[in-house]
């Protein structure tokens, strides 16, 4: 299936979970928030949330800012 992760089209195995995606995209899971199609997926649900074809996923963290 194909999803969009942080604006980039990404090919993933079917039934990939948010938890698995985060471990691919981020160096460590601390300090991270995930939104799928503009809905926040709480950390407690990462393991049980499977991504679906065409999902728009944002994996966010702190960056320098005023």
């Amino acid at each position: 299936m194909q999803i969009v992760v942080n604006g980039a089209p990404t090919e993933l195995a079917d039934a990939t979970t948010v938890d698995q995606l985060v471990s691919n995209v981020a160096k460590r899971p601390q300090g991270i928030a995930v939104a799928v199609n503009r809905s926040i997926i709480p950390r407690s649900q990462w393991r049980d949330t499977q991504l679906r074809d065409h999902d728009q996923v944002e994996v966010l963290t702190a960056a320098p800012g005023g």
Binding site: A26, A33, E58, V59, L60, T61, A63, P64, G65
Partner: protein, 262 residues
């Protein structure tokens, strides 16, 4: 001599801070420069934005802020609508484990001035959702009162547009905001140098939030230290009670027993 500098905390939402300088991290040239500036500023609260994760740099910013002993204050920079700001605040709470937010809803790219309609809407929703909301606002006493009325934990009027370093363009409005506010007034944006920070405190602000003035200074660590002392000097002057301004001179040397005869 009494040390006045370390015994003057202020509180936001019941939490005390000894330092009245809040440091924004935007514009830092390097993590080493940030580490040095955090240290010399003495700040206990540092703002961050929420952005897409980059594995190369992930974690270092938060590590550096926490090593400095400062608390992380996420902002909603980059949001132009209430809905974007609300989602960003909730994502920041999820990522960083804090319900404090510097609420920023911008009206346009050119001025980066707050959009008051969107700001009020976002503030109301986030307060209902349990957030401690610190809104970046225009230097408008009526808007500041409305934000306080909604339950914001502080109001943060701008001195001048973000990143301009133009100082405090309307000191009278800042005084009007301070006069009626019962929550801390934090001067946010527009500070260029230490005298601007001192003026904010002389006008009665509880604290100063600045980023660019330090992070884009030639020597950020030295400017951070200058800001630290600027804030302390301005606060001391405010508490000390300045003399009234006079139109004509008033001799400071006494006239009694003057040996020169008329």
């Amino acid at each position: 001599m009494t040390d006045h500098t370390n015994a003057d905390p202020f509180t936001i939402a019941g939490q005390g801070f000894d330092s009245r300088l809040i440091l924004g991290t935007g514009g830092v040239a390097s993590m080493d420069a940030l580490r040095a500036a955090l240290k010399t500023s003495g700040t206990q609260l540092a703002t961050v934005a929420l952005r897409r994760v980059s594995p190369a740099t992930q974690g270092s910013l938060l590590d550096i802020i926490r090593e400095s002993g400062a608390q992380v204050l996420p902002n909603t920079a980059g949001c132009f609508t209430s809905a974007e700001a609300i989602l960003t605040a909730r994502l920041a709470r999820e990522a960083l484990g804090t319900s404090w937010v510097k609420l920023e809803v911008i009206g346009d790219e050119r001025t980066l001035l707050p959009d008051p309609v969107e700001l009020l809407d976002a503030a109301e929703t986030l307060i209902d959702d349990g957030f401690t909301v610190l809104p970046y606002t225009n230097d408008d006493p009526i808007l500041a009162a409305r934000l306080e009325g909604l339950g914001c934990a502080a109001v943060m009027p701008l001195g001048a547009p973000i990143g301009t370093g133009l100082g405090i363009r309307n000191p009278h409005n800042i005084e009007l905001i301070v006069d009626r506010a019962e929550v801390p007034v934090i001067l946010d944006a527009g500070i260029g140098t230490a005298s601007d920070a001192a003026l904010a405190m002389e006008l009665g602000c509880s604290a100063v939030l600045l980023a660019t003035a330090v992070t884009r200074a030639t020597d950020p660590a030295a400017m951070a230290e200058a800001m630290r002392w600027g804030v302390i000097a301005g606060r001391l002057a405010r508490r000390a009670g300045r003399i009234p301004k006079r139109y004509h001179a008033q001799a400071s040397s006494g006239q009694a027993d003057l040996w020169i005869e008329d």
